[in-house]
């Protein structure tokens, strides 16, 4: 492989990772956008989503990577797996909001954030205790089809994952920009009180936001499994932190920003791993987070957050 091939290959890997981080970052950014809360539970909603997807695939009779499907059956199975992961995570996110966060809405200080840490920890340990500490072989019905362009390999699964991520992001963008509920969300992001006064049902908007964000995290959880062929109770922590960095990098509260930030973080991870060293990846990413916060706290595309009076 020539140097250029290596670079191109890592760009492909980076974009794949980035698509996943972007989906995860959207959940952070949407929640922060409307209630100005860093939702640490999101880390492990993603992880639970990955397990839900794996269990769903296992329930449909898949085990390991040997049972491969093509064409429509593959599409059907994937749609079903995405549905389970997204619905399950979405409901989990809503439940967390409803029972742990809503009673604390409007409480000043660190209490809501501490609660999300507690929820995150609960999810993490429930999975650890029920599924065990070993990493799980993720059932993957996708074929290993790949194309070679010179020294560069492009897998079918990568193309599929890009397509799914793109589809979800376009759908979300449409929802936020064009639908009534999406506009209510935007209104709340700007000024919660004013939105309430013109008749926006704040609780409903918050619930929908948690549902959408968590559902996207569930999708990201499935994508993680399909991409790496494994899942584990540990994945939420690292991926969550990287995705949060992506959200800040793009501009917290800013939906296109989260997508851009996600892809950038994915690229940094893959290129940094190639050209520096994998063991320094996290150090590079957090240093980047600090640099962004110091020099451009509004992120690349500007931040959109509620005005607090």
């Amino acid at each position: 492989m020539s140097n250029w091939d290596v670079l191109l290959q890592q760009v492909i890997n980076g974009v794949s990772l980035g698509a996943m981080y972007a989906l995860l970052a959207l959940g952070f950014t949407m929640v922060y956008g409307i209630i100005e809360l860093i939702n640490f539970a999101h880390f492990n909603v993603f992880m639970v989503g990955s397990f839900l997807a794996m269990w769903a695939l296992e329930a449909m009779g898949f085990a390991g990577q040997s049972h491969v499907l093509y064409g429509l059956p593959l599409a059907g199975i994937l749609v079903a797996a995405f549905m389970v992961a997204m619905l399950g995570s979405g409901i989990l996110g809503v439940a967390i909001e409803r029972f742990a966060l809503r009673p604390l809405r409007g409480v000043p200080g660190t209490a809501p954030m501490i609660t999300t840490i507690g929820m995150s920890y609960i999810l993490y340990n429930i999975i650890l205790l029920s599924a065990g500490a070993d990493s799980k072989n993720f059932s993957n019905p996708m074929p290993n089809t790949a194309w070679n362009f010179g020294g560069v390999t492009l897998h079918l699964r990568e193309v599929l994952l890009w397509a799914v991520s793109l589809l979800l992001m376009v759908a979300l963008n449409y929802f936020v920009r064009r639908t009534k509920m999406g506009k209510a969300m935007q209104a709340m992001a700007q000024d919660q009180e004013a939105a309430r006064m013109v008749g926006v049902d704040v609780d409903r908007v918050v619930i929908i936001t948690f549902f959408l964000g968590s559902a996207l995290a569930g999708a990201a959880g499935l994508i993680f499994g399909l991409y790496y062929n494994y899942t584990s109770y540990l994945i939420g922590y690292t991926a969550g932190l990287r995705a949060f960095t992506a959200a800040v990098l793009g501009g917290i509260g800013n939906i296109p920003g989260a997508m851009l930030g996600g892809v950038l973080i994915g690229l940094i991870e893959s290129l940094g791993g190639q050209y520096i060293a994998v063991r320094w990846t996290d150090v590079i990413i957090f240093s980047l987070l600090v640099l962004v916060l110091v020099f451009r706290p509004t992120g690349l595309l500007g931040r959109v957050t509620p005005t607090k009076s």
């Binding site: 809360l37 200080g109 660190t110 609660t115 949060f244 916060l293 009076s309």
Partner: protein
């Protein structure tokens, strides 16, 4: 709270202020015996000292020594999270830094080649010359544990400043995520730099402390006593800090950052201080802990450790010194003493009842799950923790609540409200062309204003005319785009808010920004921040100078609170959130006055007050002027303005449209147009005629 603190408050309600000396001395006395009841403390300490002899089990003593280490960590995190309100999720990083600082300099890990460079260090006893099988030999670091305790604390504090500085300027939320990142990076660094830390295997053979030739060795008892001494020291430091100028400034930042800044607190500096002291506690603990274990590995300092310390302070009571120690001891001792037994009991219960779930439940394995549940449950149902930061205050009696408002005359026998001498011939405040735009809107568009010393200037104008922005520009809360603000000839444009308070401008807020979970007295004392100088070290040592300063500040705060007579005095130990709306306005004025302003900016001081209260306050504002405070106020109630203003300035759409005596302004056509619309010629004529 004991009765002795409340009784004087009851007395004062029925007494004129001048004779309430007993009350003031009670307030002074309170500075000394805060929170801890001495006899209880002695009993606990005796029990703790006797514990190793009473128990005698090496395992129990070891667990207790570890629990003490975690109590030290909880005390440190409490300064950051509890006092200053900054959520630090990577606190274990500082623990690690302290641990590795000592570990690396008290083990055989780093062995550079010997050279003459090391000779002075050898002479000082910091290194040893190892001569192994010929050659020049190597250096063996052998720095004393006792020396490393403060050094490791300082190193950790330094890293605290380093990590905190970039992000403490930002809103608190980001700090949580950045500290989470640092908490992640530090163990990675430790793993990736094996030359210093021996990587994932961890440091081995860390030297144990020696005291007067006695080596601590591997038995737990000496560590237990050392840990106990350190916990007592850190409790002492925490308690002293909390009830000092520094501690009040931290609480003020935690309660309302903007108001704290507007009252003279340098928030970046104080947040850094909290971060550094918190990190220092962790560095100290790291040294202790590593010396006890004689090893240090990256796994000892990962995220779960940070969470565990957080759970300890949440359980015990965020901000409560006694609470966090109890929280740490409960959780640690629960894990090492009871969880095993408890699990066996549950299994027995499961066998008895044939419930499979109970038979399989392993609480030792589930400890992190329990931590998560504790966090959520405490936040939802008992945010103040097991031992709340503040004990309940005795309610006012019926008589006190329904007492006739009395107030001592403002001028009676009080010290001057500020100590500056002002040239009466020159304008005190001189503003030229002050401007600020938000987006395309010119909120304040080139306003000039000159305020003579000893005058009362009222700013009126329709809502949205830029009055509050104008105040924000003067007090530095908003950075002006252009123009100049001169205070007694000195250019103060664009200074930070806390610097402007120092210069002598204090303000109140239209939408009330008190520190709700601080007492009235503490609220007032935050106002004294810029007029006092006690630092962290001074607060801990409490030398005579510091004591004098504290007593004087308290006496002054009480005097100023007395301006409003029995409106505020009986409630002086109450938390500010319990006040009525009008009393909150009064307390804001008190807080501003305690900062000894030459110029007082009042933003709608009578809003929400009934006519009687409004009259009372109008009168009091006039008295303040008589005592040398110049006043600029924003006011909607025109009868108030007519009554007290020497000069009225009218703003509309960010511009000054009129200026003059109340009478001149009332007949001004521009003003009438701004308030009533265009077709007001007739109204103007009538106004002129009347």
């Amino acid at each position: 709270m004991s009765d002795s603190q409340v009784k004087p408050a009851q007395e004062v309600a029925s007494q004129p202020l001048g004779r309430s000396q007993s009350f003031i001395s009670a307030i002074r006395h309170r500075a000394k015996s805060e929170q801890f009841r001495p006899y209880l403390l002695v009993v606990i300490l005796m029990a703790a000292l006797a514990f190793p002899y009473l128990d005698g089990n090496e395992g129990d003593i070891d667990a207790a020594a570890n629990a003490l280490a975690y109590a030290m960590l909880a005390l440190g995190l409490n300064i950051v999270v509890g006092f200053a309100g900054l959520l630090d999720l990577g606190y274990a990083a500082f623990f690690a830094i302290g641990a590795y600082t000592y570990g690396a300099l008290a083990s055989y890990q780093i062995q550079p080649e010997w050279s003459s460079f090391w000779e002075p260090f050898q002479w000082l006893g910091l290194v040893k010359h190892l001569e192994a099988g010929g050659g020049i030999g190597t250096v063996h670091f052998d720095v004393s544990f006792w020396l490393m305790l403060p050094i490791a604390a300082l190193v950790a504090a330094f890293f605290g400043v380093l990590f905190g500085a970039p992000t403490l300027r930002l809103k608190g939320d980001y700090l949580a995520i950045v500290t989470l990142g640092f908490g992640e990076i530090v163990p990675i660094m430790a793993r990736n730099t094996p030359t210093i830390t021996n990587g994932a295997q961890g440091l081995n053979g860390v030297a144990t402390p020696k005291l007067f030739g006695y080596s601590f060795g591997v038995m737990s008892t000496p560590y237990y006593y050392l840990g106990l001494a350190l916990v007592v020291l850190l409790i002492f430091i925490s308690a002293r800090l909390k009830h000092s100028r520094i501690g009040r400034a931290w609480l003020a930042i935690r309660e309302d950052e903007i108001a704290a800044e507007a009252m003279g607190v340098d928030r970046v500096k104080l947040k850094l201080l909290a971060f550094a002291i918190g990190a220092g506690f962790a560095g100290l603990t790291g040294t202790f802990y590593v010396a006890k274990l004689q090893t240090a590995s990256p796994e000892m300092f990962m995220f779960p450790v940070s969470v565990m310390i957080l759970v300890m302070i949440v359980l015990g009571g965020i901000g409560s010194v006694a609470g966090v120690v109890v929280g740490a001891l409960i959780l640690q001792l629960l894990q090492s003493w009871f969880l095993q037994d408890l699990t066996q009991w549950i299994h027995a219960l499961g066998d008895l009842t044939d419930i499979v779930f109970l038979q399989k439940l392993d609480l030792v394995q589930s400890i992190e799950l329990i931590f998560g549940i504790i966090l959520v449950v405490m936040m939802l149902y008992r945010r103040q923790g097991l031992i709340p930061e503040r004990a309940a205050v005795t309610a006012l009696t019926y008589d006190q609540q329904n007492a006739m408002p009395s107030r001592s005359s403002v001028e009676a026998g009080l010290a001057p409200l500020h100590r500056r001498t002002i040239d009466p011939g020159k304008p005190l405040l001189d503003i030229k062309g002050l401007a600020k735009s938000f987006g395309g809107i010119k909120a304040v568009n080139g306003i000039d204003l000159s305020v003579m010393p000893g005058s009362i200037v009222a700013i009126i104008g329709p809502n949205g005319s830029g009055k509050t922005t104008f105040f924000n520009l003067i007090t530095g809360l908003t950075e002006p785009d252009g123009g100049q603000v001169l205070l007694a000839g000195e250019n103060i444009t664009g200074l930070k808010p806390h610097r402007i308070v120092e210069k002598g401008i204090a303000r109140t807020f239209q939408n009330l920004r008190l520190f709700p979970k601080m007492t009235l007295l503490e609220n007032a004392l935050v106002g004294a921040h810029t007029r006092t100088s006690t630092g962290a070290v001074g607060a801990v040592l409490r030398l005579p100078r510091v004591k004098r300063e504290e007593v004087a500040a308290r006496a002054r705060a009480v005097e100023v609170l007395g301006i409003f007579g029995n409106r505020l005095m009986p409630r002086i130990e109450h938390l500010a959130f319990s006040l009525s709306y009008a009393n909150r306005r009064r307390l804001e004025i008190v807080r501003a006055l305690v900062s000894e302003p030459v110029l007082l900016l009042l933003d709608e001081p009578t809003a929400g007050m009934n006519p009687t209260e409004t009259l009372e306050l109008t009168d009091q504002i006039r008295h303040l002027r008589e005592r040398g405070v110049t006043i600029v106020l924003i006011e909607h109630k025109l009868d108030v303005v007519n009554e007290i203003a020497d000069k009225v300035v009218v703003l509309d759409h960010g511009e000054k449209i009129a200026e003059g005596t109340p009478e001149q302004v009332h007949s001004n056509k521009e003003v009438l147009r701004a308030y009533l619309g265009r077709a007001t010629e007739a109204v103007a004529t009538i106004a002129a005629a009347s």
